[in-house]
Amino acid sequence: MEVLCSDKKKSLLDPRTKLLLLIFVSVFVIGNAGGDAAAEFRVILNYTPLLFLLCARRWRAFLFGVIFYTFAYAFAVLLMPHCKGFLNFLILAMTGIVLRFLPGILTGMYVVSTTTVSEFICAMERIHVPQTITIPLSVMFRFFPTVAEEAGSINKAMSMRDIKFGGKKALQMIEYRLIPMMTCSVKIGQELSAASLTRGLGGPGKRTNICKIGFGFCDILVFLGLGAGLAFSILRACGVL
């Protein structure tokens, strides 16, 4: 893939292409649009995020995906015929949900981990999304890891005081875990907003951006692939193929 990555661009795909990919995965895989007509297309979409994660050298996310896919299929193929009743129901629901949501989660991981905030804002400006939507969205994606991290630390501290699932004071979880998490997040958020205001976010002037985004060879390939899949599914649905 070295050859395909030009020097100017950090990631393989343009942020807009990534978003299109994300929308396709969520509509066709999670939303299961098209039903049987799009079955083959859906299988391809299932594995596309793995390919891109590999190209972007996100080894951990890639391994995570491979392991989950393998386990889900192994469960479905090896264990299911031997289980009955409630166990069967549980395994079926679990694998079904994993196989349905995993491609979306993996694509999301790919998009978030390879797109910087400035690239995202730049791409959004190019497709004329108003700032009132882009700024909250980009802050949100920047903020998810922070909230998760804070919640993790608070959970650890609180489980020392036996405030956890199955602990003696499980009922106090809301007050002692949710509220500190919110307090921390709001404090961090205030600092974040001060920092971004200093850098001129939301200022009256037109923002400039040094990010060079643009469509390259790979973007065209992805567009062609998605277009072909879409066309194929529509033709199938209309009964032409």
Partner: protein, 194 residues
């Protein structure tokens, strides 16, 4: 927005921060849905816990449009996480109503804030629409969840339950708002956040 007091960068960042916190809380609750019996409890649990976040959010809201944008973002996220686009379509309307209620109280009245939260919560119920009204279609695309999961859920979602869910959601929206207000007084004012 049309108001003379335009939204500034700081407000937009605030929306983003609270949308992130709110979404994390909602997702944590949504994970319960893997066990079918918890699926109908969304319209009780989500307004209840979401209320705490939302009331804290409202203390930062002083300008027209912030609640509305929050609802739209929730709708976009629901669509991207595969719920359906109903939350986005309905959220655009109910978000505006919630915003107008809040504006009527001039962004200060607690009563209006609680009521606004109850209206805001409609986006949660709107996620149920395909489950209630297009159940066959909804499940025909979700066969891999297993027949027993589907049966268990279909039993829990007869059509007449939908108004009940709306009422529940509205009622617990109010309860959640009041709870949020109480917690706001107890914790956040002490911590100097409000």
């Amino acid at each position: 927005m049309e108001d003379s007091k335009k939204l500034k960068g700081k407000d937009l960042i605030n929306i983003g921060i609270f949308a992130a916190i709110y979404f994390v809380v909602i997702m944590a609750l949504a994970m319960l849905g893997f066990i079918p019996i918890f699926m109908p409890t969304y319209s009780v649990l989500m307004p209840l816990f979401g209320g705490i976040v939302f009331m804290l959010f409202l203390t930062k809201v002083k300008k027209f449009g912030m609640v509305w944008i929050m609802t739209i973002i929730m709708g976009i996220l629901m669509w991207l996480t595969g719920m359906s686009y109903y939350a986005l379509v309905i959220g655009i309307v109910t978000g505006l109503i919630a915003e107008l209620i809040l504006k009527k109280g001039e962004y200060k009245s607690v009563k209006c804030a609680v009521l606004s939260h109850a209206v805001f919560c409609f986006w949660i119920v709107s996620n149920y629409i395909p489950l209630f009204f297009f159940a066959d279609k909804y499940w025909s695309t979700r066969q891999n969840f297993g027949q027993e999961y589907i049966d268990a859920l279909t039993r829990m979602f007869p059509k007449w339950m939908f108004p009940v869910h709306i009422v529940l959601c509205f009622g617990f929206g109010i309860v959640g708002g009041l709870l949020g207000h109480k917690i706001l007084k107890k914790h956040f004012e002490k911590a100097g956040i409000v």
